[in-house]
């Protein structure tokens, strides 16, 4: 049944269209520099072999995607940048096997509270506080207790309240405890459970009955047996909030996102690790779309056969019991590698007149192929960045895949499959800053084919005749010739060096350059530049893009008029490809060929390169944040790449035409 949704779709939009919207301030429960997705460990304080965390049990509120606000209890991190503001769930505590773990608890709740560490092998010693039923408790209203234990077997664990548990755990007093093996951060347990440390994910499941929370908030009674959960959370958020970034300012009290990202893997490359913890009272059957996951451990115990071999199992659905933890490896080893050009799906994508887009909003990119985008019908809002794929991971108790009464919510997140090389963008704008268009359009730079974007050198004329010794000449126009710096031009069979008057129509010239002989020239003789400059721009880059790679493929042809590329047998032109660093003083938007903002792309390959009449393909990498290269304001999201080609070497350089075949920008999307 179609229903009007009260979901905060605007919040979802922020995820994909970060370039268009200014993300609100970061929640400060997380350490500085926390990644946008993936598990975020709480640093704590490490001194010798002791790892100390300072937690505060307190009250606060969370928000649900249907617009509700729910009163919660939780543990906050007193050492966080926000000095212990409320957060739900509690901080992720990561320790290393064998460390002495100290957890100091300050209780700001109106009743005694505590922490138990189920699954830890060693005894937990408590200092301060008072004896409770299951463990030592911190007294109500700013009581304290300190727990100390030796981190035991590696694995994923829960920590939770040991006081009035039917109420306090439901209210939110739980968090994840991760024990890493001494082997290193890229291992879950042992050498057989190596994973990519950049792809470590935590999915902590829980449930909420808002009636109980309201009763606690208002001090009224509540029958636990009447519990009817309405919200089902992953990492303290309900879908679609689960796919917001870690520390999103939209969810100030729910700092942990649950978006799982992977790229196609190849056999032998390490998989992603997904740690699942069920903090709730119900068992949850969790269904990962897209690929089987491999269960490698349960409750911090690797699955091994009695003989020692791995007894891991593969799943497209796995029920994780109340209080249980399970660790999974995830791979994306593609077998079919569907590709629109080389290996198309045997069934063509559906015609849009035969399909519907739900709620006018989609994560679909308009193409069935990974890394490709297509056009979507007018009015459909796309959350897709560059043709990445999305699959829901959700509880298959489908009543939990809902926010109270609206579906596609609750205990769910998305798996995002990124294109293998990252996102790829192609130019949508081009400007010739030194030269004239011979033929083609910017679209020809988007496909590696036989169509080229072709630029000829700029020309002008001499209004009067030229003697063989004249060193000051006037030209009809200086437009398109460099405004500064020495450069060569050619008149008939003579190459001249312009050394003065650049940017004006009266030039000081040196005669008979680069192996040519000074000669007389008739009135109206053509003056041809021996260089071309043009740039193209990829637009729409999301804020936070990283690791730019620029690929350019092109050639230079010996004729400015022929329709096929005339060979250049010797003395090839030199090509320098530059990128606009918009932040350099005087860059002035890189609007001219000589702008200070153009910086040559760093080797490898070294520049300039000799490029003759065969296509040369080069890819340059700019590691790190891309922010300096992404325009802002009216140039927002724009990356400009300039191709400068000159033929300033002897003997006797002749005019040429620069033909661009392909220009592409790849990047890691945020």
């Amino acid at each position: 049944m179609m229903r009007q949704k009260a979901q905060r779709l605007a919040a979802v939009v922020t995820l994909a269209a970060g370039s268009a919207l200014v993300a609100p301030g970061h929640a400060d429960a997380l350490p500085a520099g926390a990644p946008r997705s993936g598990m975020v460990c709480t640093p704590g304080a490490v001194s010798g072999g002791t790892h100390t965390f300072n937690l505060v049990a307190k009250t606060g509120y969370i928000e649900t995607p249907d617009g509700n606000s729910v009163f919660m209890w939780s543990y906050a991190n007193a050492d966080a940048p926000d000095s212990g503001q409320f957060q739900s769930p509690g901080p992720v505590l990561c320790v290393t096997q064998g460390e002495t773990v100290v957890v100091n608890l300050t209780n700001n709740l109106p009743e005694p509270a505590s922490i138990v560490f189920p699954g830890q092998d060693a005894a937990v010693a408590a200092t301060g506080g008072a004896a409770g039923l299951l463990t030592t408790e911190a007294a109500a209203t700013s009581g304290t207790v300190s727990y100390r234990f030796t981190a035991g077997s590696p694995g994923s664990y829960l920590y939770e309240s040991g006081s009035d548990i039917a109420k306090q755990i439901e209210m939110g007093l739980y968090g994840a405890l991760i024990v890493r093996p001494s082997l290193g951060p890229g291992y879950a347990y042992d050498a057989a459970t190596a994973f990519d440390p950049a792809r470590e994910y935590l999915l902590l499941l829980s449930e909420i009955d808002p009636d109980l929370h309201h009763a606690v908030e208002t001090g009224t009674t509540y029958d636990v047996n009447a519990r009817r959960d309405r919200y089902f959370a992953v990492n303290g958020r309900e879908f679609p909030d689960t796919i917001q970034d870690n520390g999103s300012g939209l969810l100030p009290n729910q700092p942990y996102g649950a978006l799982v990202r992977i790229r196609p893997t190849s056999p032998g490359a390490p998989p992603a690790l997904v740690r699942m913890i069920n903090a709730g009272a119900l068992n949850h059957p969790f269904h990962p779309h897209g690929n089987h996951t491999t269960l490698i451990a349960q409750d911090g115990r690797p699955l091994r056969a009695p003989g020692g071999g791995s007894a891991s199992t593969e799943h497209f659905g796995e029920t994780i019991g109340s209080g249980q933890t399970e660790d999974f490896l995830l791979r994306w080893d593609d077998q079919d590698k569907w590709d629109p050009n080389t290996n198309p799906l045997p069934v063509a994508p559906p015609n849009y007149r035969n399909v519907a887009f739900k709620d006018g909003n989609t994560w679909y990119g308009g193409s069935p192929y990974l890394g490709y985008q297509g056009t979507l019908p007018t009015g459909v809002v796309s959350q897709n960045i560059c043709g990445e794929w999305y699959f829901p991971w959700h509880s298959h108790a489908l009543n939990e895949f809902a926010n109270f009464d609206s579906g596609f919510g609750g205990m769910a997140t998305l798996l995002r499959v990124d294109p293998p090389g990252g996102c790829t963008g192609y130019p949508t704008l081009s400007t010739i800053v030194g030269g004239v268009l011979k033929g083609g359009t910017v679209a020809d730079l988007g496909v590696d084919d036989t169509r080229y974007y072709m630029v000829n050198p700029r020309t002008t004329t001499r209004p009067t005749a030229t003697t063989a010794t004249q060193t000051s000449i006037t030209v009809a126009s200086a437009a398109g010739f460099p405004a500064s710096g020495d450069y060569y031009v050619r008149i008939d069979n003579e190459v001249l060096l312009v050394t003065g008057g650049q940017g004006t129509t009266t030039w000081t010239v040196g005669r008979g350059q680069l192996g040519t002989v000074a000669a007389t020239h008739l009135s109206s003789a053509t003056v041809t530049a021996l260089a071309v400059d043009w740039y193209a721009a990829v637009t729409g880059l999301p804020a936070g893009a990283q690791n730019l790679k620029v690929t350019y493929k092109g050639e230079n042809c010996g004729s400015t008029t022929a329709t096929t590329c005339v060979a250049i047998g010797s003395n090839p032109p030199q090509q320098t490809v530059k990128i606009c660093n918009w932040t350099i003083a005087g860059a002035a938007g890189c609007s001219s060929a000589t702008s200070a903002g153009w910086v040559a792309l760093p080797p490898p390959p070294a520049q300039p390169q000799n490029v003759g009449s065969s296509d040369v393909t080069s890819t340059w990498t700019l590691p790190g944040p891309a922010s300096a290269y992404v325009g802002t304001g009216s140039n927002g999201g724009q990356v400009r790449v300039l191709v400068h080609t000159q033929r300033y070497t002897g003997p006797n350089p002749a005019p040429f035409s620069t033909w661009g075949n392909l220009m592409a920008l790849t990047y890691d999307a945020p």
Binding site: R230, D336, L345, V347, N354, D405
Partner: protein, 434 residues
Amino acid sequence: MKAMARISTRREFLRAVGWGAAGVAAGGLIGMAEQNSPLGARRAEAATTALSLVATDGYLSVPGREGNPLYIFGFVPVDPALSVAELISTYKGHTKHTAPTLEFLQNDDIKITLTNLGLVQRPDLTDSHTIHWHGFDLPSPVNDGVPEVSVAVPIGKQVTYFYRPHREGTYMYHCHFEDVEHVQMGMTGIVFVRPAQDGTSIGGFTRFAYNDGDGSTGYHRHFAILFNELWTNFHDGDRDIQESIATDYDPQWFTLNGRVYPQTVLPNDSTSLPADMRIATPNPNYDDAPDYSQPNSALIQVNPGDRSLLRLANLGYQQHSMQLPGIPMHVIGQDAALLRNGAVDTSYWTNTLYLGPGEARDVLFDAPGYDAARPSGSDSWGSYNVYYFKNRDWRKLANFGSTAPGPGGMMTEVRVYSPARPLPAQTVVSQTYV
């Protein structure tokens, strides 16, 4: 009514539960029995299989709701040659639950066309539908059937999904459009993929659950049984234009292949069956003319000594604890994965099979010898020993509102027949014999 066109180059095709019952002419809609070749035939190369499903509404019957059938949505298999207009005139408002069991061969190319016929009872409700092959590896989102991350099929439209399954085993499929509602409304079925190993002879078997290499997953007979629940709120609410709150979920009936006991032990539906062996549901939108909307039997008929494979999948929202008292169960696969890790055998024997929503299990059991002294019965085929495959949670063995004596709900029978009249070799999954 036309017989299903053979547009496939495959010799084996869709095998819908009940359409190939030996001794039972094919069901009322589609004639396929005579076209079924024996299972296990091997082909030299991968082939393309195409089939067509429609999505629409209808009604089904459960004890306790006599005279008041439950409103459902569902999938019906149809002749791919029919036009949308022909499909609407024939099938709109006559859906079935469960959806047909689909059988494919590993590495084949599969095209499934879904046509959304719309709803007769709720012309105001313009829901789209999709097919989600639950558990399929590495699909393009456009073939995964999740409308929010791809597309859905609106009323009167057709979309063809494509699959090339590389992993053999038992899966399920369902509509993913507003799935908490549409799955509960009945848009669920089992799909399984036979291993490439099928047709070779290993360990005395020619049919296998998995590419085991050693015959350890070989079987003589196999049965696909889907677990579902029925919750009146969604069914009556959708019928009566009332809002249902998903998190109120509290089902009243617990089904195997869309039937509750004793419906489960009736044979696969067929027009050739006598009236008392069919489940007729008066369709209030067609002057109470009967629909036979629960086509798929859950009856397990075997000969003594037969090794049987249960292909089990749960598309309810609750976990179910299933037992087969008297016969131990060997769980050899789960979630379309052989329970073996290199040299480590991870299969297990159990008397209690716990199956969560969205999970699948492949379970082997060996039929005991026939013993007239054991609990017995007889049916139109002959005398048998009876074993009950049933939920251990006896609250799920009741038919809500029914005054009929005896158990109901999530239970069926394993009938081990007297050697006096052995069953013939099984030619289709879940074949029933009368």
